[in-house]
Symmetry: C2
Subunit: 343 residues, 2 copies
C-alpha cells in the first residue's frame, strides 16, 4: 500500500491558509503576499506535497497526455523519431503515450474515443493510413486542431504534417546516380497506397524524365519498406533481360535486402549495380558496403512535431507557425554503395 501522500488540504493546514491560497502559490505566485507565499512553500517542503495529476486534470478538463501513433514500433526507423518527440514534451507536463497501429489497429471511433474519455489531449500520427472515417469523426467533434501528422500524412486533409522533403530526396538520389553516369535506373518502391511511396516514386519518375533517362515498366519494382521486399526485388532484377545499372530504394532497409539478394545472385554492389537508400538509419554507415542514402533528420522531425502539437494545444488557437516550417530538409550522403557503371 503506497504511503498516502500529502494533499493540498494538508499543506493548507500546515501553512494555516486555505487550499485556494496553496493552489495560487503554485499557479500564480505573485498574487500572494510575500509572507504567505513563503509560508506555503515552507509547508510544501515539510509535507513533501506533490500535486495530484488526476485531480488537476479532472478539474481542468484536460488529459495531460498526447498519443503517438506508430505504424510499427518494430522498425528501427521510428526509434530516433520517438526520442525527438519525447524530448519535445520533456519540459512540459504532457505524458507521451505510444501505440502501435500494426499490432493493434485502431477500432472504429477509438481515436475520437480517447479524446472523449479524457485520455489524451492530442495526437501525433506517424501513420498515414488512418481511416478517413476516424479522422472525420475527430473533426466533427472539433478535435481537428489536436492532430498533427509526422513523416506520413493523409492526402486531401489539411492537418499539419511535419515531414521530410521526400521529392527532393528522390531527385537528389537520381541526380547523384545520373552524375555518376548511370542511365538505367530502377526504383524499389514502398507499399502501394502509402503517401511516401507515391511522393518518392513520382519525384523519381519525373526527375528521370527531366534528365531524359530511359524508363521501363519493370524498373519500377513494387514492394514495401521491408528488408524482405528488397530481397524480392533483387530476385526480380536478376531475372530481368534488361537490367538496370542502379537502383534507388524507397528505404534503407529495402536497400539492405536488395544488396544481400544481389550478392546472393552473384552481382556485387557497387561494381555491378549501384544502390541508393532512403532514411539513413543508424546501420547504414556500417553496412558493407556502406550505404549511399538520403539522410532524414529523424530526431528533428520528432521534435518539430512535438512543438507543433504543443502550439496547437496552447491557449492561442491560431498560431503564427509557418506551414513551410513543416518541411524538413534532406541530404544526400554518399558512401560506398554507388559508383560509376561498368562500361
Amino acid at each position: 500500500m503506497p504511503h498516502r501522500s500529502a494533499t493540498i488540504q494538508d499543506v493548507a493546514r500546515v501553512a494555516r491558509v486555505s487550499t485556494a491560497t496553496v493552489s495560487r502559490a503554485l499557479s500564480n505566485p505573485d498574487l500572494l503576499a510575500d509572507g504567505t507565499r513563503e509560508a506555503v512553500f515552507e509547508a510544501i517542503q515539510q509535507t513533501g506535497y506533490r500535486v495530484n495529476q488526476a485531480a488537476r486534470n479532472l478539474r481542468m478538463r484536460r488529459a495531460g497526455a498526447v498519443l503517438v501513433l506508430v505504424p510499427d514500433l518494430g522498425k528501427p526507423f521510428y526509434s530516433k523519431i520517438l526520442a525527438g518527440v519525447s524530448e519535445g514534451f520533456a519540459s512540459t507536463d504532457y505524458a507521451v503515450l505510444i501505440a502501435d497501429t500494426e499490432s493493434r489497429p485502431l477500432q472504429d471511433g477509438e481515436l475520437a474515443g480517447y479524446f472523449i474519455d479524457g485520455r489524451i489531449d492530442g495526437v501525433i500520427s506517424l501513420d498515414g493510413g488512418l481511416s478517413r472515417q476516424a479522422l472525420d469523426e475527430c473533426e466533427r467533434q472539433g478535435l481537428g486542431e489536436r492532430i498533427v501528422f509526422l513523416c506520413e500524412w493523409v492526402d486531401g486533409t489539411d492537418f499539419p504534417a511535419i515531414r521530410s522533403d521526400n521529392g527532393e530526396g528522390a531527385r537528389l538520389a537520381i541526380r547523384h546516380l545520373h552524375g555518376l553516369g548511370h542511365r538505367k535506373i530502377a526504383h524499389a518502391t514502398g507499399p502501394e497506397g502509402n503517401v511516401l511511396t507515391t511522393a518518392r516514386r513520382d519525384a523519381m519518375v519525373s526527375e528521370r524524365a527531366v534528365l531524359d533517362l530511359p524508363a521501363r515498366e519493370e524498373w519500377i519494382i513494387r514492394g514495401d519498406f521491408s528488408v524482405e521486399s528488397g530481397h524480392a526485388a533483387a530476385r526480380k532484377i536478376l531475372a530481368m533481360s534488361e537490367r538496370p545499372t542502379a537502383v534507388f530504394c524507397s528505404a534503407d532497409t529495402v536497400a539492405f535486402g536488395l544488396i544481400s539478394g544481389l550478392q546472393a545472385g552473384g552481382l556485387s554492389v557497387p561494381e555491378d549495380i549501384s544502390v541508393v537508400g532512403f532514411d539513413d538509419i543508424d546501420m547504414s554507415q556500417y553496412y558493407i558496403p556502406a550505404l549511399t542514402t538520403i539522410h532524414q533528420d529523424r530526431h528533428l522531425l520528432g521534435f518539430r512535431a512535438a512543438e507543433r502539437l504543443l502550439e496547437r494545444l496552447g491557449p492561442s488557437p491560431s498560431s503564427v507557425a509557418d506551414a513551410a516550417d513543416d518541411l524538413i530538409d534532406v541530404e544526400l550522403v554518399v558512401r560506398s554503395s554507388t559508383a560509376p557503371p561498368k562500361v
Copy 2:
C-alpha cells in the same frame, strides 16, 4: 473547443435512474434488474457516453498508466520489446508511457514522484542503471511491488526481472565456435558496469575455461553496445600480435561494426575471423555476411514483463507467478559469419 461529451449524469437522466445505477451497469451489471440494465445501456448508446478517465482515476486512486523506462529509444534492439509490452497492456485500461533515460535522465526523486503525483501505477525498467537511491525511495514509499525489470536488472535487489538467459547465450556461442574448431576466442564486451556485460562476459570466460581454451587479457575487448565500439574493437584486433580466430560480440550492433572494421583492415569474415553476435536484431539475417548470433525473443520479453507487472498491480498482492518464468530461453542461430578457422 471539443464538443462537451456526455457525463454519467446525462446517462442517468435519460435512463431515469441514479448515477450509482449507471456506474453499476458498467462495473457490475448483474447487480441490476434486467430491465434497468437494458435501459441504462440504451441511454449510454443514445448519449454516446464514455467514462471520463480522469474522474475515474481520481476516485479510484489510481493513475491508469504504466511507465516504461528505455535506456535509449534510438537503439533498434528495443523496438520489438516495446511492441511486446504494448501488446501486453492492449487489453487492459492501462496506458503505456515511454521515457528515454538517456536523452533525459531521471532526476532525484522523479521516479517516486511520478507515483505520488498519481501519474503512474507501475514501472517496467529496461534500464539496469537506475540509481539505487531512486529505487530505495520507491521501496520506502511501499512502491517496490510496482516495479519490474526487463532485460536488465539491478544486482542485489529483488525486483522481478524478465530477462534472457544471458549466460546460456554466451555458452552457446562459445561452444559453437569451439565446435567449429576455434581455440583463440575473443570477446567484445558491453559497457563496463552493465549487468548484461557482466553476465555475458563471465559466462564466456568460464565456458572458455571449461573447454580448456587459451585466454589472453587483450582478448577481452571493452566497449559498449554500439556499432562504433565494434569498429574500435576491429582496430584493436588488427593491431594484435596474437590475433584471435573468432570473436563473440556482446551485441549484434557491435558485430556489425566489428565486421565492417575488419573488412576495412583487410580481414574477411568468416574466412579470416568468425564473428558471433548477440540479440538477433532484424538486420542480422540480411547483413552480409548474415550474422551468426544468439536469438532473444524480444517480443516475448516485453509481453512477459507486461504480464508480470499486471499481476503485481492486480488485487491479489502475492501472485503465484514463478520467478523461474522470468528467464527466457535463447537460441543459437547459425548463419554465415562463422566458419572453421583457417589451418
